[in-house]
């Protein structure tokens, strides 16, 4: 009997094309995942148990797709085809029916996943090589993961979806149960610091512990178990069935069985009664008030066309919105969004709560809603098109001769309204959150823009889905094609698989980068072009769909193909515009460029070249135009002992170069590909000779290309580390490929090793410092901030001018411009200036106090502050890569770290941390303790800044709070050390942030316990006195030495251990 039932099912499915399409899709997905290193973890091999667990665990979520599809097809088939009465009247037992149907869905899900797994393994076997990226192939790693993580996940998902199908007998509910599982998973991910989530932040141990227990997919438990594992462990050890992971797995299986048993117990062969509320038959004759008259009709004209659209819209909307599934969809969406908003407000343990600004809510909506909208579009898009037919109402409707175009448009408008409605509800939730969290400054204009930035792409996707339905005339095939198309062209997954050129992207939603200061900035311009391109494509498909209405291709008149001309013209012109303006090289091209640069110019590294000593420049910023231009000149001096006759000046390719010239130089060769200018001197440049070079360049963000994150000339809160774009002399080491494996693959020699900590240094050391003199102009309502002292400011021709000067600073300077509010104060004779977005005034007093405290601490313990002014300026979140960054006399803070809600009782005081850390860089780094780039040099800047911050934190908040901070950094260090490696401080790589920041802070705390604050500070003061500019720079060995000098001999070994282990 059971065998017969299963055979019957096989006969049923083996005839369906969509069945094979799914199988093929899963195998292909596995192969793609296996061959392309989409996500890689540093130090972790591609075929390590860790990576395998990560990918298989992630993709076990994808099993929801076959499960849901199979459940709707297999469990609700009898109901759909009204076969229930007959089936239930046969002697088939509940047991057989139950087992056969359940095992079918489960078996299919497992089978599809196995295909994915096989694809994944084959992918690995195809690409495996002897490099360090690959470990030894062990089938057991895959199988272990499959049986411990994947299989229980699929089992539970199948049970939940099947139970929903049996109890509700409603397709939409089945879809929603799948969506529900997905949402539950996302919610747990948000709270468990899952690396799947963008911008994940460390969470507390108790949260981790709880998520490890309740995450139905076992991923939180996986991350919990492995969080402190070393790279070796992650590469060779499979997950241990113990602790939370064991309980989680047992819990999942138990839960699944309980649900299954309950479903079995309660399952009855009972007919679905859709017409519960059947009304009594009314046969009593009614009194007649109206007389039936035949009424003339008119089936043409605009009025008729539009009223047809409207009528379909009304009917579709009413029957959709009134349905329970839609209500459930809305509830799920709002639930997930609420969770995301809650997660966004709580910055994790590292950060306090954020102010619930409109920007924060907009970003939460942009991060959550698009995927849900896409799913809703996919579902309703295919449902609406076939609704009339599946309800068997089409025979009536189709006997009327209304316009097919109107029908098509009405379906689209219905989808449009559904997306508008969902967006509207999300906005309401956002506003509600703002009130609940007591930040009722509502930016309605920004909220409304979501209808455009989310609604438009969603509608285009909806239109595409409808068009595909009408073109393919088969609900499931069209659905699968639409889903595959959107995964490739709309999701991040497609991006990761190499579909990143804007021509291969379709209707991408505005990303969640709304800045409270700069809005979406230039991205809105890029959005228009991209949307027009996507729109042309959907328009093309729509016209094709309408042409093919009720006709086959052969019957379409040749003449009607002319209709395709307009959308094709749109498509090609917008596509051409994108193609022409898009200059971002692919990753491979970029690497090839770097390789060629190195091969061509490496020889100049050793050639004697002059040093830049003075930069005098005019920088004109045009934030509203997303552009700036720079003119100026620099003096270069031959500080070597040799004569120089050939000078290489290198420039950035990001910008447009108008002029680089000098009266004493002759341009020998201009290499535009690499931005290199090779000059010959007219006369040999003798030691201490100087030459003046003048230059002129400009930059404008081209919307399609995005900006480099330190070159964000946005409308407000712009920040540019503009020194990156100034001409430089000689070979540019930063252009080299740093990734060792990539070099190996390209058969390039190893990079020059990092200078050893104890390597000798030329004496006197050439700091390559410059004198900086810049006149910066910006828009009339903005203030421009740069480095050093402000010597003058004035307005001219409706622009503001600021003249900054600094002597002897590193060749590293920046500018920011914004409509700033300014708060001034002073510490002794040093003036303190805070420049911030007027709305972000909540922490100003506290910041001012923290700066003064830091100033006092540093001046007392380390030495004099070197400038007349210290200013802290807020910048927009369009600059990424740092929370705050210190330049001579100026510190720039990102709005994301600046505009936070400090709670004096709980959480860390991030404003104090930032102020202390960054301000102390005026001593550690910049123009004072500025070591050459070598092993351990990061310790002399970042670790010392971390130490200063810790001590000031102790002073402000007490020892308990300090302990909290130390513990936090210990945790962060432990959880990242597998990726970063466990280096000793004294010869650590300056690029190893985990070591120099996190381990550094912890070890400095140990040192504090060992010899005490006073002695450390004394040693640091001595270090500064002996090694600050213009003296010979220090190394970590000097630091250790100074520490030993001020402490007891007995402590020497322990001090050594702290730095050398």
């Amino acid at each position: 009997m059971l065998r017969h039932l299963l055979l019957f099912e096989w006969k049923f499915y083996s005839r369906k094309i969509s069945f094979y399409l799914i199988l093929l899709a899963f195998f292909g997905l596995g192969l793609m995942t296996g061959t392309s290193a989409v996500i890689s973890f540093p130090n972790i091999t591609y075929n390590s148990p860790y990576a395998i667990n990560f990918f298989l665990g992630l993709f076990s979520l994808a099993s929801l797709f076959p499960i849901v599809l199979m459940a709707t097809q297999s469990l609700l088939r009898e109901k759909d085809n009204r076969f229930e009465q007959i089936l239930y009247a046969t002697p088939i037992t509940i047991r057989n029916y139950f087992i056969s149907r359940f095992s079918l869905v489960f078996g299919f899900a497992v089978f599809t996943f196995l295909l994915f797994l096989i694809g994944y393994i084959i992918g690995h076997l195809l690409t495996i090589n002897n490099s360090e990226q690959w470990g030894v192939f062990h089938l057991s790693y895959y199988l272990h993961c499959f049986f411990t993580i994947v299989l229980p996940n699929i089992f539970l998902c199948t049970v939940i979806v099947c139970c929903t199908a049996w109890f509700t007998k409603n397709k939409m509910f089945v879809y929603l149960s799948g969506l529900g599982i997905y949402i539950l998973y996302m919610v747990v991910s948000i709270f468990s610091n899952s690396p799947f989530m963008a911008g994940s932040v460390p969470v507390s141990e108790s949260t981790m512990n709880l998520s490890a227990k309740i995450d139905l997919f076992g991923m939180a438990a996986f991350f919990e178990q492995t969080q402190y594992w070393t790279a070796l462990q992650r590469n060779t050890t499979v997950l241990q069935l113990s602790g939370n992971f064991l309980w989680n797995r047992i819990g999942v299986i138990l839960l699944a069985f309980l649900l299954l048993i309950a479903a079995y117990k309660f399952f009855k062969f009972k007919l679905t009664n859709q017409q519960k509320k059947k009304i009594a038959i009314a046969n009593d004759q009614e009194t007649k008030k109206y007389v039936y008259n035949k009424t003339a009709t008119q089936l043409s004209g605009k009025g008729y066309f539009f009223s047809t659209i409207l009528s379909f819209l009304k009917i579709d909307l009413k029957s959709t919105i009134k349905s329970i599934p839609f209500v459930v969809l809305v509830v799920l969406t709002l639930f997930m969004l609420g969770m995301e908003m809650h997660g966004a407000i709580n910055g994790g343990i590292r950060l306090p709560q954020y102010f619930v600004t409109t920007a924060l809510m907009i970003n939460a909506i942009s991060a959550t809603l698009p995927i849900l909208l896409l799913l809703a579009m996919l579902f309703y898009g295919s449902e609406l098109v076939w609704k009339s037919k599946s309800l068997n109402f089409s025979s009536i409707e189709n006997s009327i001769s209304f316009s097919n175009v109107a029908l098509f448009i009405s379906k689209f408008v219905t989808l449009f309204f559904i997306s508008i409605l969902l967006i509207f509800l999300c906005i309401v939730l956002g506003v509600l959150f703002q009130f609940i969290y007591n930040y009722p400054i509502i930016d309605f204009k920004a909220y409304l823009s979501l209808f455009y930035y989310i609604g438009l792409p969603a509608s285009l996707c909806g239109l595409l889905i409808i068009a595909l339905q009408y073109i393919f005339k088969n609900k499931y095939i069209a659905l699968i094609i639409a889903a595959a198309f959107l995964v490739i062209t709309n999701s991040l997954l497609g991006n990761a698989f190499g579909f990143s050129h804007p021509l291969t992207r379709f209707a991408n939603f505005m990303p969640d980068v709304y800045s409270d200061i700069a809005g979406f900035s230039y991205l809105s311009k890029a959005f228009i072009i991209k949307m027009f391109y996507s729109f042309s494509f959907t328009l093309l498909l729509s016209v094709i769909a309408i042409l093919l209405f009720e006709k086959s291709l052969k019957k379409v008149k040749i003449k009607s193909f002319r209709l395709l001309l307009l959308p094709l013209t749109f498509l090609f012109s917008s596509g051409f515009l994108i193609f022409k303006n898009y200059h971002k090289a692919s990753k491979t091209d970029q690497l090839t460029w770097q390789q060629q640069y190195e091969e061509k110019y490496k020889s100049y590294q050793k050639k004697p070249q002059p040093s830049i000593t003075d930069v005098k420049t005019n920088i004109n910023l045009f934030p509203q135009k997303n552009s700036y231009n720079v003119t100026g000149n620099f003096i270069m001096v031959n500080k070597t002992k040799f004569e120089i006759s050939e000078i290489l000046i290198n420039t950035s390719n990001e910008i447009i170069w108008n002029v680089i010239t000098s009266s004493k130089l002759i341009l020998e060769k201009k290499d535009t590909e690499f931005g290199q200018y090779l000059f010959k001197t007219k006369q040999k440049m003798l030691p201490n000779d100087s030459i003046v070079v003048s230059f002129d360049f400009e930059y404008e963000i081209h919307p399609i290309n995005n900006h480099q994150s330190f070159n964000a000339i946005v409308e407000n809160g712009a920040f540019m580390r503009i020194s990156n774009y100034f001409p430089k002399i000689g070979y540019n080491l930063e252009n080299e490929i740093g990734d060792e494996l990539e070099r190996k693959n390209r058969k390039m020699p190893l990079q020059d090793v990092l200078t050893k900590v104890d390597a000798p240094l030329e004496n006197p050391y050439n700091y390559e410092f410059i004198n900086f003199d810049a006149i910066i102009s910006t828009a009339a309502n903005q203030t421009a901030i740069s480095v050093g002292d402000l010597v003058n400011s004035y307005s001219k021709n409706n622009r503001n001018y600021f003249h900054y000067k600094a002597e002897n600073i590193p060749f590293r300077f920046a500018v920011s411009t914004a409509t700033y509010a300014i708060q001034k104060s002073n510490y002794n004779d040093i003036s303190i200036e805070l420049l911030y977005e007027p709305k972000h005034n909540q922490n100003i007093t506290h910041l001012m106090k923290s700066i003064k405290n830091t100033m006092q601490y540093c001046e007392t313990n380390f030495g004099k502050y070197p400038y007349k002014t210290i200013r802290f300026a807020e910048i927009s979140s369009f600059t990424k890569g740092f929370a705050a960054t210190a330049y001579p006399a100026s510190v720039f803070i990102n709005e994301k770290q600046f505009h936070v809600k400090l709670d004096q009782e709980e959480g860390l005081d991030i404003i104090n941390e930032l102020a202390a850390h960054e301000l102390s860089h005026q001593w550690w780094g910049n123009a004072q303790l500025n070591s050459d780039y070598r092993e351990g040099s990061g310790v002399l800047t970042e670790t010392l800044a971390q130490y200063t911050k810790l001590m000031i934190y102790k002073k402000e908040h007490g020892k308990d709070k300090m302990m909290e901070m130390v513990k936090l950094y210990q945790n962060m260090y432990d959880s990242e050390k597998a990726f970063s490696g466990e280096e000793a401080l004294f010869n650590s790589n300056p690029g190893n942030a985990n070591v120099i920041y996190n381990k550094g802070l912890v070890n400095m705390y140990e040192l504090y316990l060992l010899i005490g604050e006073e002695k450390i500070n004394l040693a640091l003061k001595n270090l500064l006195a002996k090694y600050k500019f213009p003296l010979q720079p220090a190394t970590t060995l000097n630091l250790v030495e100074e520490l030993k000098l001020v402490s007891d001999k007995s402590e020497s070994i322990k001090i050594e251990v702290l730095f050398k282990k």
């Binding site: 859709q274 017409q275 509320k277 059947k278 009304i279 038959i281 009314a282 046969n283 004759q285 009614e286 007649k288 008030k289 109206y290 007389v291 039936y292 008259n293 035949k294 009424t295 003339a296 009709t297 008119q298 089936l299 004209g301 009025g303 008729y304 009223s307 047809t308 409207l310 009528s311 379909f312 009304k314 009917i315 009413k318 029957s319 009134k322 349905s323 609704k387 009339s388 309800l391 068997n392 109402f393 025979s395 009536i396 409707e397 189709n398 006997s399 009327i400 001769s401 209304f402």
Partner: protein
């Protein structure tokens, strides 16, 4: 006077089933009965007239306009009640009628509303006009079907097996409704129930297996059978023997005994009793091609 002319209409389905072969019909105003057993091709013929299906060959002319090429012409003057139809969930009868009325081109809101209300009254649904059609009982749903077919200005109404599944009372009520509307327009009633055709239609046709067997005035057909139908009560076991010997039109059980009706020009062997011929006899003799 409306006219529907069907010439040499042929339709073969992809699986080889010949649904219509060489159908020729001329229909004018009045109720027209399309009679045939299940699977005779009635629904195919209806759907083809309505324009939901394309024939392989042949022509359909409504008021002289070729509607195979221009289905819009007939659709704009058509009321169609399909054999089996569903409705949108959660949509009230009034709203659904309003929707269909708009599709049919009733552009004036006032007259549209009046006509809908009148139709709801006519079909006795006024009281429930704001309830979802999906909650209606079978009879009410069929009446709703008639109401929607009458929307606008239909010159031809096609109803496909409308009384199937209705209880006798509902069926009567439904037929009364149909007979009211059949003046000055063409009403094609497709059914396998001889009784409905007898009650409602003057003109009729019988089709089976896609072929048109008989077409014309039902009274005349009955007249032709006058004196040629004979009945007898026999034992069930004797049936086979009788079948071999006589042309049996139909059999009917009555209290365990079998009443048979036989077609013959004279009383065969004088063991039968004469009986008045009726439309059912016409139907069965035609199907069995006895005449």
């Amino acid at each position: 006077m409306n006219s529907l002319k069907i010439t040499n209409l042929t339709k073969t389905y992809d699986n080889g089933v010949k649904a219509l072969s060489n159908i020729y019909l001329e229909i004018e105003n009045g109720m027209f009965g399309l009679l045939g057993p299940n699977g005779a091709g009635k629904s195919t013929l209806m759907k083809t007239i309505v324009g939901l299906q394309q024939p392989d060959s042949g022509g359909i002319f409504f008021n002289k306009e070729n509607v195979i090429e221009n289905s819009k012409f007939i659709k704009s003057q058509l009321g169609y009640l399909p054999q089996d139809f569903g409705v949108y969930p959660n949509i009230a009868a009034y709203d659904l009628l309003n929707h269909l009325a708009i599709l049919k081109g009733l552009n004036n809101a006032t007259t549209r509303k009046e006509q809908i209300l009148a139709l709801l009254e006519k079909t006795n649904l006024s009281k429930h006009k704001n309830k979802a059609v999906s909650t209606y009982s079978g009879g009410m749903r069929q009446r709703f079907g008639v109401a929607q077919a009458l929307l606008g200005n239909p010159q031809i109404i096609i109803v496909d097996e409308p009384t199937a599944g209705l209880d006798p009372e509902e069926r009567n009520r439904f037929n009364n409704l149909l007979s009211e509307i059949g003046e000055n327009i063409i009403v094609i009633l497709s059914t396998h129930l001889v009784e409905d055709v007898r009650n409602l239609c003057t003109q009729m046709t019988i089709i089976n297996k896609g072929e048109l067997l008989l077409s014309g005035n039902s009274e005349q057909f009955i007249d032709k059978l006058k004196g040629k139908v004979w009945k007898k009560q026999i034992d069930k076991n004797e049936l086979v023997a009788y079948q071999n010997q006589y042309k049996i039109i139909s059999t009917q059980l009555q209290a365990g005994k079998l009443n048979i009706r036989v077609f013959a020009n004279e009383n065969p062997q004088n063991v039968f009793a004469p009986i008045e011929a009726d439309l059912e006899d016409v139907y069965f003799t035609t199907l069995q091609k006895m005449q």
